[in-house]
Structure formats: C-alpha cells, structure tokens
Symmetry: C2
Subunit: 297 residues, 2 copies
C-alpha cells in the first residue's frame, strides 16, 4: 500500500502532534494509577459490512471508554490500530470524523496508532486514571449484595434486527436502536461515582447473563437475576414477541451499560438512573455461555 | 464462538492474575514517564499463512518491544488483542508458548487482552518507562550528525525468499535468516544507552530508506546514506546478485534494528555493535516510498 502514506498522514496527523513516533508519552496525574484496556471490533463479527464508517469511528472510541467506566477511571488517552483493505479517502474521511466527534465529546486525545493493510479490524487501546487502590474490578461481589444495571438491556441486539430489516416493532424506534448500537454512552460519570460504593463492576458487552456470570465467577459467588426487573426501553416494550425480547435483554451483547454489585446497606447511595435487578447469593457460578460470546478473556 | 471461552481461559489466564478484568492497572516508577506503542501483525500482510504459530507469538512480543527500544524505554507490560478464525488448541498452544518465551526472555508481563473471531490479526500494545524528558524521538536529527544502524540490514527481506523457496544463497544460512525474521532482537539495552546521546532514533520496520526518510522528515533535514557502508550479514554477502541484496538492504522491512543520529563529537561514545552509514545534511527529505510500506502513520 505504498503511496497511501500521505493520505494516512492527512487524516490522522491533525489529531495530535504526538502521532508519528515509535512511542507516545503519557502523563499520569499524581496519586493516580494508570489503567489500560485493549479491544477489537472486527467486521462481520462485531459489525456488519454495511456499517457506516462514521458510526464505526465513533463506536470504536466509546466502546473502549466503556471499559474505563467499568473500572471507575477517568479517560486520559487513546491509541488506535487500524487494519483496512485499502486506504481510500471515501472511507477514511467519515471514519476519522466519527473518531474525532467521540474523542472531542469525551475530551480524550489520540496519541498513537498503527495502520496496516488487511481485513477491516479496529483495535483501540485506551488509558485512564483511578485513585490508587480504588479500581473497580469484577471480583469483590459479596453474598447479600444487590445487583444493579445502569440502563435498559437488549437495545443493541434489537438494533441488529433493524439492520437486517427484520425489526418487528414500531418504525419510530429504529433510529433510537441504531444509536444505541453505534453510539452507546460510556457510563464514565457513573463509574467514578461507584468508586468506594460498588463491590464489583463490569460493562455489559457480551450479554447480561454472560457478563453477570463473569462477576460471579471472579468473586466466587452466584448472581441471581430477576428477569422481571430487567429494565427495557419503550422500543423493546413495543414488541409483542416476549421470548424474542427476553433473548435480546438477557443474552444480547453490545449494550455497554454497567452492571455492578453494592451492599444492601449502601443501596440508597446508588444513582437514580440505575435499576436493581437481583441479588448475590452463595454458591458457584454456572458458566452457561448464554451470552453473545466472541470468546473474550 | 461460544463455548471456546474455557479454552481461551486455559491458555491465557496462567499468564497473569491481572487478566480477565475490564482494565489492567500499571505502576510507573517514580521520576519516569510512561510510553506506549500499538502495532498489528496481519496475516498475508506481515507474515505468510504457513508461519508457525510459536514464531508468531514470539515475534508479536519482540516487534512491540522494538518500539520501546527506539524510544530508549525499559519495558513494563504488554497487552494483546488477538483476532483469529477459530480458537483451536493446536494453534493456541504453540502461539501462547512463543508468547511466553519472549515475555520471559525480556521479563515483561502480559496484563490484559481481548480475543475475537475473525481473520488472523495480532495487535500488541506495549508499555515502557523512560526518564522524564528523555524519550528518543524521530525529530531531533541535526545537520552534521552521523547516521548509525545497530546491525545488518536486509536479513528479514531475504528470509521471505527462504520461505518462498527462492533463496539464492547457501543453504546453511536459511535458519539464520528465518530467525532474523521471526525472532528479531529488540535493541532495548542499546536504546537505553542512547538516552542523552542520540539526537533522533527509529526502529527499522519498513525499510532503511523509508525509515531514514521519516527521521529526516520529522527533523527537517536530509539523511544521506552511503550504500557501501550499510552492514550486511555473511548470509547476504554470500549472494552473488548484488542488485537483489541492495534491494533487501535498502528497502526490505522487518529488520527491527535501530537507526539513530548522533553528533560527530559524540561518535566515540556509540556502542561498538553499531555502524556509521552516513550523514545528516541540510535540505528537505524526499519521501520516495522506497521502503516496504504498509501505510503506517
């Protein structure tokens, strides 16, 4: 792909003067611990080939930031490894536009990257800071804790039906669902409020049951979820096929809401946007594979 | 790829207890600045489909560490985003074996990762530390500086000929060349010695001329390389087709040696393994695209 270097430069170098070196330097605020996460979005696995490049650029940033939210971290910086079949401007222009929109929205700088030729794969490494010893983790849930989620479940799974032209609900909900898939809100503010409050946290990327199972497994307990308390959007409540809605809500991935556990005595301190959906009990988690699992460690 | 989660856990979780959370925490030594780099190795672009998985695991680590070497940084940690068609043990066992061998050799911990389904792509984000204000960069070369490289050029390009069964040299050199491709030595010790000595540095991944051009472009100068002084291995010196050797040495990528510039007055302090191959002059770098370019920023 010799000769397209100039095009890459044109679209990426304006993001930061830090780009274009072998390494990028990063300053961690005093008293804070650096945290990092790496995640890939792969064509045909995580998004359909017809996904708009602008939406992919936006989504690559916010899904990465969601991992920081789950750790209770404030964002510091972002690096991007972009593998693409060819470096054409018609794709790069909207992709970098979406990238910039998300980075500006959450005040995060792109400090490094790598572009290579191959099947479309977008890998983001994201950096954040948490106060020493306070990072939220999957381990830590205790018997008797309440289980909360930060927003409605199943919208992203329903969005895939919209994309495939088989959405069974009202037409008016389609854009809402597509936005929930392409533009999930990383719950950064909530994550920071959960420091010192939540006993364990995770962001729901692989499905409510699968990710709840991971918290249980890491914590050596079981998370019992009451299906009837799982919050649903008006869009999903408009669908008459309740089995379908149940599958989306319990096993659909990509919602990027936070799931966290909190001692019952602290429940009054949980921000109002959250919903209690169950309780932590003694026992060993059965890993059911009920989620939308693309074998993540 | 539901159901293969257990297999992934089996092969990756033994690397570190930090794996399996949304974020991994990282401690930066006092007085040091964190530096990071991200790089992808893509099947058919950076390695052939028949590449042995063990060698790919090793190479993913050392090529990432090479970026730290070019910055003069000491390694701290490593995260991996692995996209693969299927999660079979026959591939994961040797791949993680090579990964572990390299991580152990250079005393680096795997602290986080993501595995996804798709075409084979190995993306590494690596973390290191340099003393404040001392990171080596591409910018900084000055008119009159000498240009040095840390080892022989062109071996990795010749290794591709070995893989394709069209190596024109003596058979006895084949394993040496394959090792130079799959197991390049990240010049970490040299990089640290260059702190406060080199005016600019880069690791040669895209070809000597292309990467020298980047240093010139970033520094606002021109790097003039004397072809006759470019060091060659005994393997390459055994090849009679001098045009072919010249192409490998000047434009072949993947050698992962360091190129750096140093004031002539400091030349006596340059470690003995290095070779002076040219001089920095005034002028503007012509980006020729002569290297093995997969459009990296």
């Amino acid at each position: 792909m010799t000769g397209e270097f100039a095009l890459i430069q044109q679209y990426f170098y304006p993001f930061s003067e830090k780009l274009g070196d072998d390494c990028a330097a990063l300053e961690v605020p005093p008293g804070m611990r650096l945290v990092t996460s790496i995640d890939s979005l792969v064509e045909n696995t995580h998004f359909p080939p017809e996904a708009p490049p602008r939406e992919l650029g936006y989504r690559a940033v916010v899904t990465a930031l969601s991992d920081l939210a789950a750790a209770g971290a404030q964002p510091l910086a972002f690096t991007l490894a972009l593998t693409m079949p060819d470096g054409d401007a018609a794709w790069l222009e909207p992709f970098t536009g979406g990238l910039r929109e998300a980075l500006d929205t959450f005040n995060v700088e792109l400090i490094g990257g790598d572009t290579t030729q191959g099947p479309l794969t977008i890998t983001a490494a994201v950096f954040g800071a948490v106060p020493e010893q306070q990072m939220l983790q999957r381990r830590g849930a205790r018997v008797g804790d309440q289980i909360h989620v930060s927003g409605p479940m199943g919208d992203a799974a329903a969005a895939l039906c919209v994309m495939q032209g088989r959405w069974p609900g009202a037409r008016k909900h389609r854009q809402y669902l597509l936005d929930r898939f392409y533009r999930p809100t990383p719950r950064l503010e909530l994550g920071r409020k959960l420091l010192g409050l939540a006993s364990a946290a995770i962001d729901i990327s692989d499905g409510l049951l699968a990710d709840a199972g991971r918290v249980g497994q890491a914590s050596g307990v079981r998370l019992i979820i009451d299906e009837n308390r799982v919050p649903l959007s008006p869009a999903l409540r408009s669908v008459t096929d309740r089995d379908l809605v149940r599958t989306w809500a319990l096993s659909g991935g990509d919602d990027y809401e936070l799931l966290f556990t909190v001692a019952a005595a602290d429940a009054h301190r949980v921000p109002g946007q959250c919903t209690c959906i169950g309780e932590v009990v003694a026992g060993e988690e059965q890993v059911t594979g009920g989620g939308y699992s693309h074998f993540p460690p």
